[in-house]
Subunit: 254 residues, 8 copies
């Protein structure tokens, strides 16, 4: 262990086993992570149940399988994102308890209970059914990170009354993830209705001047509703990760 | 008159005053507008009160003055658009009956009554106060073209309840012009609330990733509400012109 | 029925069956659409024959089939757009009266007579044969919405005399949809020839600097002919929907 | 008061003073905000000390003065953003207690104590001195919204050791706002060092291929560090507003 | 024939067989091309040997076959461009005299001698071997249009001495077509070496920041050598067509 | 003279005055232009009357004056382009025979007769009056290069009949320069009407989605009329230079 | 040999075997590379072991095989880049000593020892595992060009401590190639840590607003660390080629 | 001094003055730069004469003056870049030995001899006179960094023989900086002529489709000549900084 190595070094110095010059030299060349930046992973080590995350997109079925198998041995919970349905067979055979969500394109393996982050609720709102895969990725991720999650589907701005009919569920959220393609207007409307943080996720849904999500992205960045922040196009995972960091603030103090 | 000239030609031919070859040659070289495409200006001649339109933007105060003076002599109504306040003085001195709207940056000179197009109403809706100049240009233009005009200001999507509070005025319109900058989401919401044509006008209001109106333009082109059509950024005049063509359809038959 | 529910509530209050406080609470939490925004679908309920619309593009043959079958049971007319030829077989087997247009990629099922909107005519003009699929989608949609439709094909600006040869058909339209790719110049020319509303549809036809329809889109947004409005690239359906809203204005009063 | 009006209406109905039909009609046309969406401003009314915000950018000195004077009479705290130094004179003369920050280009008038949101701290980090105006706008805004604020200046990634030397201050924040222009890399580095939410603000600082902040914006949207969300270019105010919504979650429950 | 029809009409009028009113009406509704714009095809009719052109790209093998067969019956020469190798089999079977160029992806059927335009020579220069397909399309097209054609391959600017070694062939051209991808610099160098018209064709060759030919296109539009004009990306056909119009000017007078 | 120097060198070698090694060395280091590439300026030296060209744009009035004065002494004809009206005074005082065109922003000093290139005529066509400066720059340049020039103003595609009325002047041109902003559609229409080369010049006229001439540029690059080539935005000079190279081909043989 | 030919020519002239005029003519038409620009390949001829390079990307397996076989006969070392695994079989069968790197997609055939350039070391640093193919292409290329190469993988800025732990390897490099996708921030951090030249290679790794490497490219061009230069997206080969030119400067003088 | 502090700490530990636990704690919280990353500035301290660099662009004359005065007191050499002529007066008055270059817009104050880096030479090549300011900034910077510098002006690719006439000076350079706007083709040509590193600097010179240097930037990134690397638009300083890092490799070993 790093902290131990450092302690050993200092003890040796204290005991006169090495000289000040030797100690100086060793410290200068020690990997920096060993003596301070280790805080980065500090919380991670404390919190049990945080999943390992594997990006399935650019990997073969075999590669994903090997990685998951290797991680599974350590008893960790595992979340595979962007995993095409054609790659999931070996995983499901090997881990019958694993769950594959074909909409979210996620594979979840829960080997020990997910520790809840606290009392807050992450609400994932979705403008149209075509935006569903990204919304589901966000929802699955948020759950795997210990959040209570609620989902609201198909409440686009062109039928705004459908959104208003669920105003109570908007009111109950600690943080809202809004997923929308095309003109990306939904976060602006919701940002004006709630007083909690709103994370907007543009999707690549649309055609022509949608430019693969750019129109929605620009719409969200220019939102007239303050309090809205934005992640990359189709980045449901990133939105959920940020939402989880936010939601944890409202939970019981660590 | 062109039709007369053509008639004269044919009569001469019929009377043997000119030969077939001569007639053929004359017809071949006659300006095309004289014998068919003249329909273009047909309606214009029939409708009294249609204003002459002058684009003030790239012209000097002197140039605008000369053009307006020349037109005024023919007794026509005149609309000058995009006229900076620094160029209007000579016009107001010369035409004390003219009206300058500093928001719309329009100068209107009404010398004969504007003939109303019919019973329909053009509603101009405006997302924010910064979008007001473009909205006002649209409103002034629509009035000069003979439309009854209603205006709704500052009903952006981030405070969507302000829009709903005026639902009755949305209901009364024959055609709605929606002016919005930033994310340009308002036309989608309104397109879902009304069943009449909606013309969306993106404005260059905003900063950063608004890209001078591009974000709003893309938002409107990708509107999830069917029935929305779009004009160029800041083109209040064009929206009103198109709205007037539409509104005329609902009026008394010509 | 919503209005009925509201009436029941008020009647109960009036009859003293519930208290003012109870009424207040119930009203506060009632879905908003039930008490006001319901106007949205008001006209829809009045007009018989308006089709249900299904976007076939991102759905499997099975999904489309299920949706259409479900809708068909309610006796509605149905329009499926962007339906690839490889998905249409099950529909045609099940609904032998349905019509599939391989150019427009539309499937239409007419179960009760389409009620005509009125006397006006929607003219769909098409610059080149490559633009035909988008033009056909517009034409089919407009007909399903109750419009009389005329079509003019292959009258691009590089052979402008072909357009002029059909000037009479331009004259007869109430609203003109102009479909063009490449430089998208046709709406400007037509906008200068007619005095009715013109809806321009850029297509993704072209290569290189056509940028998938962006060149045509920009050309149309910058049209020097006033009265032209624009929809998204390849959005024949949207153009027809807007045209239908416009055309209805000229029909018999509802 | 709206709720009162509704109560009056129901009471009258209950008392038989108006009929069910009359009640139905009145409810149908009541502004919607009065009966449900009023929750929007609910929290605002509860929280004392929340400032009124005025965007100074596109307003004249006279307009800003009038608005501020009008608001000041109601005893509210006021924050004017994007206020050029040339417009601030009248405000400072009229409100000697007001403070103008020439870097942030903000004017703050605190008429009643700003109620602290809670124990959390918003840290504003700034890559270079040129990014300072945006960072200061964020800091001033966050303070006016009741947050405790810390600031870290000139810790760009090209001299990354300067950032590490202040690791303790990173550790103390509840939410971090990272302001950076040019390549916008700082949020990625900080996102990897902390476990709290990070809000990235691209600035228009740079030249050439910086494209007015687009390079920084894209860099931030593509951050390899999860948990980073982004606001519009130069939008220090928006970042602070979102940070405040987040920070409030960690404070004492309302 | 159109001119004949017009003559017949005038003769009938002259002979009193139809009245002036009837003549007026017929003239007004005659297709415009019949009485004046017919000049468009004037030269085409005079020049024998000008090929019919078919764009093969978006057509099936069957469609191309039908079109070519239909045209071939009229005895015309035929040029099919952008014809994939998988579509050419039926054509070659049916027309054994036809020639398919797999580089240019062109099919040529010469049924009557191509009439040479004159003494000038079109030189097609090509920066790299990857640009060859576009260069070959230009060369084949120019030959089919009656031009003498010379070709210079693989003389990119990074090995500029290879170009200078063929200076004599540059000197002999009447018009030069320069085909280049990547940075598109070759037209600038050649434009500085020759004193005849230079037509630049950007190609989509390249990767990354080549953006499918946009880098080359911009390079050519910004050429520091005057006298260079540009066509669309990969538009070898268009360059040859324009070059042929130019080359004809230097030939024997028609 | 270079050729002379080379001759002298070879003669000296032939006469044994220098050794082969010396000759080899001198040849290796001779400026390359001296021994072959000199053809570049060959034609220039032969043609009298070709003007010197000075780009006035980024130069001070003093700099322009000095350059012109220096050139004038050599008796050459001089063309200054993009010369603001505020810089022309000293030139007109010093060269009273010089002509300044405030539209074209050109200054021409003709000190010896401009030798005509031949019988052909360059026609400059201009879509709108705002495009006039660029069109005039093209016309003035073409004249200074020895071309006969005709000009056609304000014949935009939205009033296409105005163009047809001047069909005869289109017929007389050897090469047509078409100048247009906004949607840039005019070259397509003209390219379909004439059979001579067409050079399209996009202008930066327009606003919003005109993007400073990009919309017009894209429109022209995607022209559906073959035979159209394009130059940079606002590059009237370049279009005229290319047109002159083309027109020379049709003139008397050099 | 060219220099020999020139010598022969001059000797013949000196000996009176050819006249001055003949010598003049021959010199004028000699390929230019023969008499001066030959310096271009001068160094190439001196350095043994420099490989021939073949771009495999747009070539068939057969084409690549033929080219390599032809080159191999001349005994040269050969580097094939961007060679898909499906094309390598014939090469490996024919040249069993050749090595194919499936990550780098390179095939190397070393037939004679690669001459080392000198003492310096090229370090290839790679932000994430997805960037590995480009990094490997750079490493393989640099080795084939005679450079000593070190590689550092997966040291992205979001886990910056991993980079610092290898500070010693950064210190040992003469030139550093930094390969990164997404936000492309790594070159800025490394540019601030080392004092040797840094060449940044953006990769097309990422999705959404990564725009195929554009975000990384812009990030690198705007690097706040001076001394960083950039090559095209995914251009590992080009980076290595430039690095080799740099590294050679530090080696033994040629 | 940091290293001293560390030594003191270790000595105290060695002497038993502090415990191992205390030593551990202090080390963990020490600023990281103090114990390892200090290598960053190591070379800087060794090399005398390296100038301090001040970016003048966004600073007032007063701010620049204060910074320079403060630095000057420490006896360092100072380079101010992007300093408008209107800000230089106070500096020249205060430091009469300072030199202002109005082309480069640089102010140099040399207070102690600039130590030459070695024998190599940096060549700055410039396509046109408009590119001169950027080229001069590069040249001045390179000289201030201790490089011998040569400059070659106005050798654009449209007059390529002017470049070849100076081939000897290309041959003498250790590294070449190529500055070009418009199409940015010059680096490709030079990259093919020399065998040393080439750094390309796009400039914002040009108009229309030059897009403020983007066309040149893309041209350079897509250079067909390997060995070319690129910096940001107008970044003469950055190019010189990188060139200096390269040139140092060829100098005497430190």
């Amino acid at each position: 262990m790093n902290a131990n190595e450092l302690k050993t070094l200092l003890t040796a110095l204290s005991a006169g086993e090495i000289s000040v010059a030797e100690g100086l030299e060793k410290l200068r060349t020690l990997p920096f992570e060993d003596i301070g930046v280790a805080m980065i992973d500090h919380h991670r080590e404390l919190r049990q149940g945080v999943p390992e995350v594997v990006l399935g997109e650019s990997k073969s079925a075999g590669q994903v399988f090997s990685i998951v198998e290797c991680m599974a041995e350590r008893g960790r919970n595992i979340l595979v994102t962007r995993l095409g349905a054609d790659k999931v067979e070996p995983l499901l055979t090997r881990f019958p308890d694993g769950e594959y969500d074909p909409d979210a394109r996620t594979f979840c393996l829960v080997q020990k209970p997910i520790e809840p982050l606290g009392a807050g609720k992450v609400l994932v709102v979705c403008a149209g059914t075509s935006d569903l895969p990204v919304a589901r990725e966000a929802a699955v991720t948020a759950r795997m990170l210990g959040n209570e999650v609620d989902e609201l589907v198909d409440v686009g701005v062109a039928g705004i009354h459908r959104l208003f009919a669920r105003a109570d569920r908007l009111r109950e959220a600690t943080v809202v993830i809004v997923v929308a393609g095309m003109e990306g207007a939904l976060p602006s409307v919701i940002g004006g209705l709630v007083s909690v943080p709103v994370i907007a996720v543009p999707t690549s849904v649309g055609y022509g001047a949608a430019f693969g999500g750019v129109a929605a992205l620009l719409g969200m960045l220019n939102s007239c509703a303050s309090g809205v922040t934005v992640v990359n196009i189709d980045n449901g995972f990133g939105a959920a990760f940020a939402a989880s960091r936010i939601n944890r603030l409202g939970g019981p103090k660590p």
